[in-house]
């Protein structure tokens, strides 16, 4: 599945719920399903700046593809980063850097987050792109 196809799938998943409370419930489920993140990796250099809750994001290379892992102390934030990882992990840096993130608007996520979490989402996307940039040869 390409990045665009995965994004499309998420837009469809979210569109199944009418109420935002239910969309949050879906995000929370994504957050709960995110694999455990090792405690020793919860270091300040992996913290994403600009989030009110703490979010750690780590990137490693596997066969030319970036593998992202992440965690947060807030479950909705964990759900958001889990959703982003489902889109961007296992991709080459080029795939990530040539994709866009308009699907977040189509989901309606940006407008339905508090302003501080909107900033946090921006920071997460920026960090994912920065990590892709730094892993590009």
């Amino acid at each position: 599945m390409t990045i665009e196809e995965k994004q499309e799938e998420l837009v469809e998943d979210f569109s199944m719920y009418d109420e935002w409370l239910d969309k949050y419930e879906y995000l929370i489920e994504l957050g709960k399903a995110l694999p455990a993140f090792p405690e020793e990796k919860k270091t300040d250099d992996r913290l994403i700046k600009g989030c009110q809750s703490r979010v750690w994001l780590d990137a490693g290379m596997d066969g030319g593809k970036i593998v992202f892992t992440a965690d947060s102390d807030a479950i909705i934030t964990r759900g958001i980063i889990a959703m982003l990882i489902s889109v961007y992990s296992g991709r080459t840096p080029e795939e990530i850097l040539t994709s866009d993130d308009a699907f977040l608007d189509r989901i309606g996520l940006r407008e339905n987050l508090s302003p501080t979490r909107q900033n946090g989402l921006l920071s997460m996307m920026r960090t994912i792109r920065d990590l892709a940039e730094s892993h590009r040869n």
């Binding site: 109420e19 935002w20 409370l21 949050y24 419930e25 929370i28 009110q52 809750s53 703490r54 102390d73 807030a74 479950i75 909705i76 934030t77 987050l113 508090s114 501080t116 979490r117």
Partner: protein
Amino acid sequence: MTVQTFRTLFPALDGNVYGKALVYFDNAATSQRPASVIDKYARMSREANANIYRAVHKLSADATEAYEQGREAVRAFIGAASREEIIFTSGCTAAVNTVAYSFGEAFVRPGDVIVVGEAEHHSNLVPWQQLCLRKGADLRVLPVDEEGHWQLDELGRLLGAQPDGAASRVKLVAVAHISNVLGLVNPVEEVIGMAHAAGVPVLVDGAQGVVHEAVDVQAMDCDFYCFSGHKLYAAPGTGILYGKKKWLEAMPPFLFGGEMVDTVTLERTTFAGLPHKFEAGTGNFTAVATFPEAMETARLARDPQLLAAFDETCRCLEDALKARSDIRLYGASGDAAGPYRRAGVCSFTVDGVHHEDLAQLLDKMGVAVRSGLMCAEPVIRHFGVSGMLRASLLPYNTLQEVEYFMQCLDKAVAMLR
């Protein structure tokens, strides 16, 4: 007056968010405005939008008169001796900053000491911290214990003679009447008595206190009392600095320009008398014009029947939170807590659930609360947490809203666990 009658004065409380009835529990940040304030603001915008003090024309005269009526309404509400002691600022923060700068310029020298409470809002902490950094003075803390109560023994030590017998170098004590996090009514009179006995003036941050307590600044005998209009039913962008005349006269101006001057040459300037000396630039005349209506609303809010209902509503919220073993409510009040009463503010954490998540879900259920550090990071850290959830009520909030809030809280916690 019944809660329902009082409530009808506030159009916003009738509102819906996301198709659900609004439950507004973020009053410690901003109170809703009554129709009388909204209408006055609109009328002044239409009919008296002109610069105050400067011009001879009718619109300016009307705006100036309304501004001074606002000043008189505030003076009467807090029982100040004269209008000269009521300084309008842009908010409580600006009021504290004015004192920190001007009092600091006049009276604080290297090695002097400023004492602040540990549970202060940043607006009553950072200005003093920065003053001390500028002046080479020391910032000392009046600590709170695990119940959120002041440890006055420590204040006594700070105010007493130094170990070498020299006089205390404390120049000012700055404390909150009611902490915006703990919501407890602090024994400010006792602190003022202790400080005055040592010849030290006291600034009281009344941003929360003036909303919940009947304040008479002369009876309280504080030297400065600061608060904001937008937490007390008025239009935003307004703050009040009450100061005893003897201090305000002895302090230099903070900002320069506008009506605050007497005569100006290119070489020097003499300054206007009080209160104008501290009101540089054009004041927020449209918002200040809403003070007579806002103070009338605040007076209505102290109706005995309404207050009795409010106490009951607050107690229900407090009891409901205390009844849950997974909820930690900060600040102890009640019979065992001596003089400390809780005033409409409950800050708490829920085990295993992040405050931001809770606030976000509650929002989608129509409930407005505050979450996070609440501009009071030191006291949040004191209790060893990364943030709290705060429900803050006013007498227009109802028992039904508290019940709905607790149901929503249960539902949100269940979703998040």
